[in-house]
């Protein structure tokens, strides 16, 4: 079974600065997806960024980028120029094609003005 670990329960960052959220996972599969989801106080799950394991290039979406280290099974999220609206819970997730979608325990991010 796949497991996803987020070792930082809470983090804080000053507005306009950069923060990195950590995620590690364990799998014996070679082809899979990795995701970061944002959950604001409304509790709606919002996809932040997606990475396909066969792609070596790290995914980027505007201020959000990942550092995908397949051999180390690491998938960290970097948020640049942090904004107050980035305050939320962030979940790392793993999906083997057509199978279970497994989430980490989450990291609560607070952006301070």
């Amino acid at each position: 079974a796949q497991t996803v670990t987020q070792s930082q329960p809470e983090m804080s960052v000053q507005e306009a600065e950069t923060v990195t959220l950590s995620c590690t996972y364990d799998t014996s599969e070679n082809n899979y997806y990795l995701f970061w989801y944002k959950q604001p106080p409304s509790r709606q799950m919002i996809l932040v960024i997606r990475q396909e394991a066969y792609k070596q290039q790290n995914a980027t979406e505007n201020r959000f980028s990942v550092n995908f280290q397949k051999a180390a099974k690491s998938f960290s999220l970097k948020i640049s120029d942090s904004q107050l609206g980035d305050t939320a819970m962030y979940f790392c997730a793993f999906m083997h094609y057509g199978n279970m979608l497994t989430f980490g325990g989450g990291t609560r991010l607070m952006v301070k003005p």
Binding site: R43, L47, E52, M89, F91, G98, L101, F103, G105, G106
Partner: protein, 110 residues
Amino acid sequence: SQTIHQWPATLVQPVGSPLSLECTVEGTSNPNLYWYRQAAGRGLQLLFYSVGIGQISSEVPQNLSASRPQDRQFILSSKKLLLSDSGFYLCAFWSRSEAFFGQGTRLTVV
């Protein structure tokens, strides 16, 4: 477009009463469907997932059950609720390399 509807948004039920949460999907066929539970300030715990009609996989032994009577309908049920069943329940489906989530149901068992 692909959408997912989950209801009700909030529910307060007494201990020992039955439960039925419903989730329907539009704009896709034969999706993988999921039920998650989230305790306050915690992560998402996968309860059930389904790859087709009548096919249900359970990840955690519990007081809940799931059914998929139609391709795009996923139901979470309980015959007798426990206090420990309180939480936030999310339905999701997987399509085209992305998961889509419902708005969630906040269940309080009193």
